[in-house]
C-alpha cells in the first residue's frame, strides 16, 4: 500500500469577508442572517449563480442548503492554533476536516514565505518524516544510495498492516534516521534525500 502525506488542516483566510474566491466559490455580500438562518448568500459555483444558506440546528449541527440540496454539517467550537489562527473540526459527508482560519496579516506573511520556499524547494535536501506511528520492519536504502521517485525506502508496520514508504523525489540518500525494529511516532525523521 502506498500512503501519501498525512492530511493537514484545510486553511482558510479570515472568512469574515464579502467577495472573493473560497475554494473556488465566490461569496457575494447578501442579507445578514435572521433567526436560526445564519447566513444567506448568492454564490458562484463553477461560474453559475446559486443560493446558499446555512441554518443552525444546535449542538454544533448545521444544515447547508445549496441549490436546493441540503447537507448536514457539524462545526465544532474553535480552538486556538499557532500564531493567531483558529481551528475548527468540521464534519461533512462522513469526512472530518480541521479548518484552520488565519488572520489576513498572517496569511500574507505565510504566502510570501511559501513563495520564497517554492523557488528553492527543488534544490535543498528533503526530510521524509513519519506520517503514521508504527514499527519499522524493513529498510531498503542506505546512505549514499541513489533513489528515484516512487522507489521503496522502508516498510512500516502499523495496525497490523505493512505500509511501504516510497521516495517522493529523485535524489541521494543523505541520512537514514531509523533502524529496523524501531518504533516511530508521527513526525519522526525517517530519511533525508538530497
Amino acid at each position: 500500500m502506498r500512503v501519501g502525506p498525512a492530511p493537514k488542516p484545510l486553511r482558510m483566510t479570515n472568512p469574515t469577508v464579502g467577495t472573493g474566491p473560497l475554494g473556488g466559490i465566490a461569496i457575494a455580500p447578501g442579507s445578514p442572517g435572521n433567526g436560526d438562518v445564519l447566513a444567506q448568500r448568492q454564490v458562484l459555483v463553477d461560474g453559475e449563480p446559486s443560493s446558499v444558506s446555512i441554518r443552525r440546528l444546535g449542538g454544533g449541527r448545521h444544515v447547508l442548503l445549496e441549490a436546493q440540496v441540503a447537507s448536514r454539517v457539524v462545526i465544532e467550537p474553535e480552538t486556538r492554533g499557532e500564531s493567531g489562527t483558529s481551528i475548527r473540526e468540521v464534519l461533512v459527508d462522513g469526512f472530518r476536516f480541521l479548518v484552520e482560519t488565519e488572520p489576513e496579516r498572517i496569511a500574507a506573511l505565510r504566502e510570501r514565505a511559501t513563495k520564497g520556499r517554492a523557488a528553492t524547494a527543488h534544490l535543498g535536501p528533503l526530510q521524509v518524516k513519519a506520517i503514521i506511528p508504527g514499527k519499522v520492519v524493513a529498510i531498503s536504502v542506505g546512505i549514499g544510495d541513489t533513489v528515484t521517485a516512487g522507489q521503496q525506502l522502508l516498510v512500516v508496520e502499523a495496525m497490523k498492516m505493512q505500509n511501504e514508504l516510497r521516495a517522493p523525489k529523485d535524489g541521494t540518500i543523505e541520512r537514514v534516521g531509523v533502524a529496523v525494529g524501531v518504533n516511530i511516532e508521527i513526525g519522526d525523521l525517517l530519511v533525508v534525500i538530497n
Partner: protein, 526 residues
C-alpha cells in the same frame, strides 16, 4: 421454552474491542460471569468496563499481551474460569492456544486444536477439499520453496500453469496479510519473499502458496454450527464482496441473486467441508462465486467471524449463545436446526458496514487517535456493535474496527434504504473513519442492483473526488457560519453554532467585514 442452566459459571474472554464486548454481553445474558483481559493500552477500555473482573496481561504490543498464550491461560486458572472464548483475531485460530487451553483443563469455545490445525492451514484445507470433492480455487497444494533459489525455475513454470495475474497467499494467513498480487512473471520472486516476510511477522509462519486470481468474483461464505453429537448445520450465507486489500468493508445476508437451488448446493458444500474437517462449534466456509455460477472453496475460518451479526439477524439464532451451549456439550438447539432448514429460503435481509479508523480517501490508511463526537443511529432494524464512546482512544497497536453498523429489514431494498437513513445519523469526530465510503455504497446504483465483486472498491470508489466535494462544502459551510457569527479568528473564541449577535452585525457595513482577499485551500495532499 424451558429455562436451561448456564453452560458455564465463569468465562474468560481472550480478546478486546467490540467482539469482547459482544461476548461479555452474551455471558451476562446467559447468567455467566465474564473475565476480561487487557493490555496497558486498554486499561480503561469498554470490555474492561463491562466485565465482572479484568486481568492485566502486559504492555500494548500484542506479542506481549493478547498473544501471550501462557498469560491468558494463567489468567483463566487464577480466576477460576471454566471456559475461554477467543473471539476473532489474536489467538482465535492458533491451534497451540486451543491445545494449551485444553491441556489446562479449561474448555475452549471453538473447534478442537486438531481441527483448527487441520483446516487453519489453508494448504491443509485445500488438500482436504480435494479429498472430499469440493472444488477449490486452482493453485498449488504445497508451500512455495521461498528459501530455495535453485527451485525458482520450477516455481515459475507452476505459476505459468496457474496463469497471471495470480495471488501469493500465506498458508497461515487471514485478512490479506502476507498476500501479494502478481501480474508479471518477473515480480513473482519479490512477491514471494515480501509475502513470506509479512506472513512470518504476522503469524509466525512464512509458508506461502500460489492461487489463481478469480476476477470478477463475489466473496460468499457460509456460517456453520456443529455440535459434539454429529449435527452440522449451515445457518445461511453472507456476501462479503466489498473489500479493500482483501479486508471486508460491507457484508450482507443472504447473498443477493442466488436461487434456492444454488443456496442448497452452496450450503451442502460447506457442510461437507465442515463434516470432513471434524469441525465443532462455529466456523465459516469461504467461497468465490464466479460469473459462470461456480463456487470455488477458498478457506475455512474456525472461529466466530466479524460479520456473524448479519446471519444472526436473518436466521434469528444467537451464534455466540450457541457457541457456549455447544462448548458445554449440549446438542444444537431446535431453533438452530429449524434455521438450518429455512436457510435456503431466507425471509429477510441484513447488511453490515464496518466503521474503521482509516481514511478512505487516502488508500484506507490507518488513522489512530482519540474519538471526539460520537453519535450512533437508532430506531427500528438497527444494531450497533461497538466498544467506543466519545473520548475513547483508538490505539495504533490493534485492528482499527471501531463499530459494526447493522441494518435489518424484510427485503434488500428496504435494508439499503434503512442503511442510508442510519448512516445519515452517524457523527464521528476526532478520527477519520470509513463512513464516507459507506455513504457512497448506500446510495450507489451498482450496490442497489447487486452488481457485487471483489473489485467493487476499485471500480466504484473515487475517494479523492468524494473528498474534494466534501472539502468544498466544509469550507463553504465554515465560511458562511463564521460570517454571521462574526467569527473573527483573532478575537475571543465563539461557539460555532452561535447566532449572529447584534454587536457583530454592526461591525461591517453589511453586517460583516469586507476584505479584499479570502480563500480556502485544501492543503492535502501538500
Amino acid at each position: 421454552m424451558t429455562l436451561e442452566p448456564a453452560p458455564f459459571r465463569r468465562v474468560l474472554v481472550a480478546n478486546r474491542g467490540e467482539i469482547a464486548v459482544r461476548i461479555i454481553r452474551a455471558c451476562h445474558e446467559m447468567g455467566m460471569e465474564a473475565i476480561a483481559v487487557y493490555s496497558d493500552a486498554d486499561a480503561e477500555a469498554a470490555h474492561v468496563r463491562i466485565a465482572d473482573r479484568a486481568v492485566r496481561l502486559g504492555p500494548p504490543a500484542p506479542a506481549e499481551s493478547y498473544l501471550r498464550i501462557d498469560l491468558v491461560v494463567a489468567a483463566a486458572l487464577a480466576t477460576g474460569a471454566e471456559a475461554i472464548h477467543p473471539g476473532y483475531g489474536f489467538l482465535a485460530e492458533r491451534a497451540a492456544f486451543a491445545r494449551a487451553v485444553e491441556d489446562a483443563g479449561v474448555v475452549f469455545v471453538g473447534p478442537t486444536s486438531d481441527a483448527i490445525e487441520a483446516v487453519g492451514d489453508k494448504l491443509n484445507a485445500r488438500r482436504l477439499a480435494a479429498r472430499v470433492g469440493v472444488p477449490s480455487v486452482p493453485g498449488t497444494l504445497e508451500p512455495a520453496p521461498v528459501d530455495h533459489p535453485d527451485r525458482v525455475g520450477e516455481l515459475i513454470s507452476t505459476a505459468r500453469r496457474i496463469g497471471f495475474p495470480l495471488l501469493v497467499k500465506a498458508a497461515a494467513g487471514g485478512g490479506g496479510r502476507g498476500m501479494r498480487r502478481v501480474v508479471h512473471e518477473e515480480d513473482l520472486a519479490a512477491a514471494l519473499v515480501s509475502g513470506s516476510r509479512e506472513a512470518l511477522s504476522a503469524f509466525g509462519d512464512g509458508s506461502v502458496y500460489l492461487e489463481r486470481e478469480i476476477l470478477p468474483a463475489r466473496h460468499i461464505e457460509v456460517q456453520l454450527l456443529a455440535d459434539h453429537h454429529g449435527n452440522v448445520v449451515a445457518l445461511g450465507e453472507r456476501d462479503c464482496s466489498l473489500q479493500r486489500r482483501h479486508q471486508k468493508l460491507v457484508e450482507e445476508a443472504p447473498a443477493p441473486g442466488l436461487t434456492v437451488e444454488q443456496r442448497r448446493h452452496l450450503h451442502q458444500l460447506a457442510v461437507t467441508m465442515g463434516s470432513a474437517a471434524g469441525l465443532r462449534n462455529a466456523a465459516t466456509c469461504e467461497f468465490l462465486h464466479d460469473p459462470a455460477g461456480n463456487f470455488w472453496f477458498l478457506e475455512v475460518n474456525t472461529r466466530l467471524q466479524v460479520e456473524h451479526g448479519v446471519t444472526e439477524l436473518v436466521s434469528g439464532v444467537d451464534i455466540v449463545r450457541e457457541q457456549f451451549r455447544i462448548a458445554s456439550g449440549r446438542a444444537l438447539s431446535p431453533e438452530v436446526i429449524d434455521a438450518g432448514n429455512r436457510a435456503s429460503r431466507p425471509a429477510s435481509h441484513a447488511i453490515e458496514v464496518r466503521l474503521s479508523a482509516e481514511d478512505p480517501a487516502r488508500a484506507f490508511a490507518p488513522t489512530p487517535g482519540r474519538v471526539g463526537r460520537w453519535t450512533m443511529p437508532g430506531g427500528p432494524g438497527i444494531r450497533v456493535d461497538t466498544h467506543i464512546e466519545a473520548g475513547d482512544r483508538v490505539p495504533a497497536d490493534y485492528d482499527n474496527l471501531i463499530a459494526k453498523l447493522m441494518v435489518h429489514a424484510h427485503d434488500r431494498d428496504s435494508a439499503i434504504d434503512r442503511l442510508r437513513r442510519a448512516l445519515d445519523e452517524v457523527e464521528i469526530g476526532g478520527v477519520q473513519t470509513t463512513l464516507p465510503f459507506h455513504r457512497v455504497v448506500a446510495t450507489s446504483d451498482a450496490f442497489r442492483d447487486a452488481r457485487l465483486s471483489t473489485g467493487w472498491v476499485e471500480e466504484h470508489w473515487d475517494g479523492e473526488a468524494v473528498r474534494a466535494e466534501a472539502v468544498r462544502r466544509a469550507l463553504l459551510a465554515t465560511g458562511l457560519a463564521s460570517l454571521d457569527t462574526g467569527g473573527a479568528p483573532a478575537g475571543p473564541a465563539t461557539g460555532a453554532g452561535q447566532v449572529a449577535g447584534g454587536a457583530q452585525q454592526t461591525q461591517g457595513r453589511n453586517g460583516w467585514r469586507i476584505s479584499a482577499r479570502t480563500h480556502g485551500a485544501d492543503r492535502w495532499p501538500s
